[in-house]
């Protein structure tokens, strides 16, 4: 049975449509998601399919409509909110940190909050300092919020379906560079991808490379190139950061003795530091070399193609650092 090849965007849309068809309490809310189909076209066509009651255009009021969505999720519906850019996470950070993430712990089992916030992160399109950021590290430090970050169309679909069915608040990170990427995606509407299971992109003994979202796609490409150079990488796509599949990471590091983490965010205080730290805590003895982090420098992301590219991780930089780590 051959799978269809569709784009990451189409896969997301399919997940939304299937879950909306399956569960009437699921609705979409966000800026310009109706006629416009969202800034990146993810919800295109869903207005026609599900109507204005379930595909709700909002005014530009991110804190307000996120708080509203939390209130809705507390009272019997399942909102899927689109934040136009992940750079706007700070605008809703209070709602997520101080409300959504604390409800169940404080108010107990009565207080479910089945909320999904979707937002595209990442650079590569020259959108400049306030439309290119990845901020998942903030959420990692915010108890009670799950973080999902698919890097393939199949995962985009399967993980979004899981997110919508999840009883807890989920931040669902998409990526501008991934939207047009195409790959096989199962049609079966019952298939979901579970949280907390890293995906092995490539099997190898020389070095473990960990990434997520667009960086995972880059690592996937870099691993192939490395193979040609005789370096065999064990490449992991984390898929979800909360929960995080540390078992897979630790098992891989135990095998390779070398770890490199690729993160599309500013270096200091990023997710990579947490992963590295956990590996040190759990597999200290197995490391034959220091962990390497490939990240952005601690600067805003420029609009100019030249400066943007200079700051971002790339396949070449991944290869160079991997070679360095293996040789070092």
């Amino acid at each position: 049975m051959s799978e269809r090849v569709i784009s990451y965007t189409d896969a997301l849309r399919e997940a939304l449509a299937e879950e909306m068809a399956r569960d009437e309490t699921v609705f979409l809310m966000g800026e310009d998601i109706a006629e416009y189909g969202g800034a990146f076209g993810v919800t295109r066509g869903l207005l026609d399919q599900f109507g204005r009651e379930r595909v709700v255009n909002t005014p530009i009021s991110e804190p307000g409509f996120t708080g509203l969505a939390i209130g809705a999720a507390m009272t019997g519906t399942r909102p899927v909110v689109e934040l136009m850019f992940m750079d706007f996470l700070p605008l809703v950070a209070d709602q997520l940190l101080n409300m959504a993430g604390k409800l169940r712990y404080v108010f107990g089992e009565q207080a479910g909050c089945p909320l999904v916030i979707r937002a595209p992160g990442g650079a590569g399109r020259c959108y400049g300092p306030t439309h290119s950021q990845n901020l998942e590290a903030w959420l990692l430090h915010s108890p009670g919020i799950k973080i999902v970050c698919p890097s393939t169309p199949a995962d985009a679909k399967g993980l979004l379906k899981s997110a919508i069915r999840d009883p807890d608040p989920v931040f669902f990170m998409e990526h501008k560079m991934l939207y047009p990427t195409r790959d096989e995606v199962p049609e079966n509407p019952d298939l979901t991808v579970p949280f907390g299971q890293a995906r092995k992109m490539c099997d190898g003994e020389d070095i473990t490379i960990v990434a997520w979202s667009w960086m995972a796609a880059l690592v996937d490409g870099a691993a192939l190139e490395l193979e040609k150079l005789g370096v065999y990488a064990d490449a992991l796509d984390l898929r979800t950061l909360v929960p995080m599949d540390m078992e897979a990471v630790v098992a891989s590091v135990k095998k390779t003795g070398r770890l490199m983490i690729v993160e599309e965010a500013v270096r200091t205080g990023g997710v990579a530091a947490e992963i590295a730290c956990r590996v040190f805590e759990r597999a200290y003895d197995c490391l034959a070399a220091p962990v390497h982090r490939l990240t952005l420098p601690d600067i805003p992301i420029s609009a100019s193609p030249l400066l943007e590219a200079a700051a971002l991780p790339s396949v070449e930089k991944i290869i160079d650092m991997a070679l360095d780590l293996v040789d070092g």
Binding site: P63, G64, L68, T77
Partner: protein, 315 residues
Amino acid sequence: MKNELENYRMMVLIRRFEETIERLFSQGDVKGTTHPSTGQEAVPVGVCAALGPGDMITSNHRGHGHFLARGGDPGRMMAEFFGKATGYSGGRGGSQLMADYGIGFLGGNGITGGNIPTAVGAAFSAKYLKRDRVAVCFFGDGAANQGTCHEAMNLAAVWCLPVVFVCENNQYAMSTPVAAAAGVPDLAVRAAGYGFPGEVVDGNDVEAVTAAVGLARERALSGRGPTLLECKTYRLSGHSRGDPRRYRSRGEEAAARKVCPIVRYKAVLTARGLLDEPADADLVRDVEEQVAQAVAFAKNSPYPDVADLERGVFA
């Protein structure tokens, strides 16, 4: 509408409950902080008297009155102050963070203005699920200046949602008088900026509050959208534990105390022949007994199990 004496009794209960909490704090029996609603009792009691069983409330930091008026159990509330396992939040929430979804009380909120969008969200669900219910949001004059208030009101207007915004204007946000915090004397006028009615209500007149909420609720249920009710009242206590109230005079407070909602309603009910001094004394004694029982329940309850500390973040 509940009967007059029940409402009067509830106001007295809220007063005694708050006074008891303040005493327990000053004695060191309970820790942390608390925001008493002393003097504002007519607002929650008046509001809740107008609500139906399916209606939903979001509350703020000054929420004991809201919760009690909506049917919260004084014992479990008291236990929360004592950090006991039987407290509404098992000791995790404290004064500001208790909830009972079963009676439509969606909880307090420690972030000023944070509960306004959630009320609109509850109203959204009600409309989406075609349930005949309204959401009510309690917030202060200070919270009215938060951006979330603006956004939530506009969202409710645009989507014509069944929500009643109850602004408890108790003259101060902490130490800041309304005149220093808002460009207008009546916050109710802001409703016009969203296209729905806004009304100033005598928030120390419990029946006036009930009447205004009753109409707003009807409006909401008949699909005509939100209403803003600015209930003018006065916080007789300090803002929170240990507030020396340097920002106002004792004379101002004494004057306010004379027109407090309990004093006023007692006079009304007496004039109507529904209450006299002996009956009032009985009622007060009964309330005091109830509060004493709540304290006893709290004191006798077990502490939460520290082994559960990390449980319950996720389902």
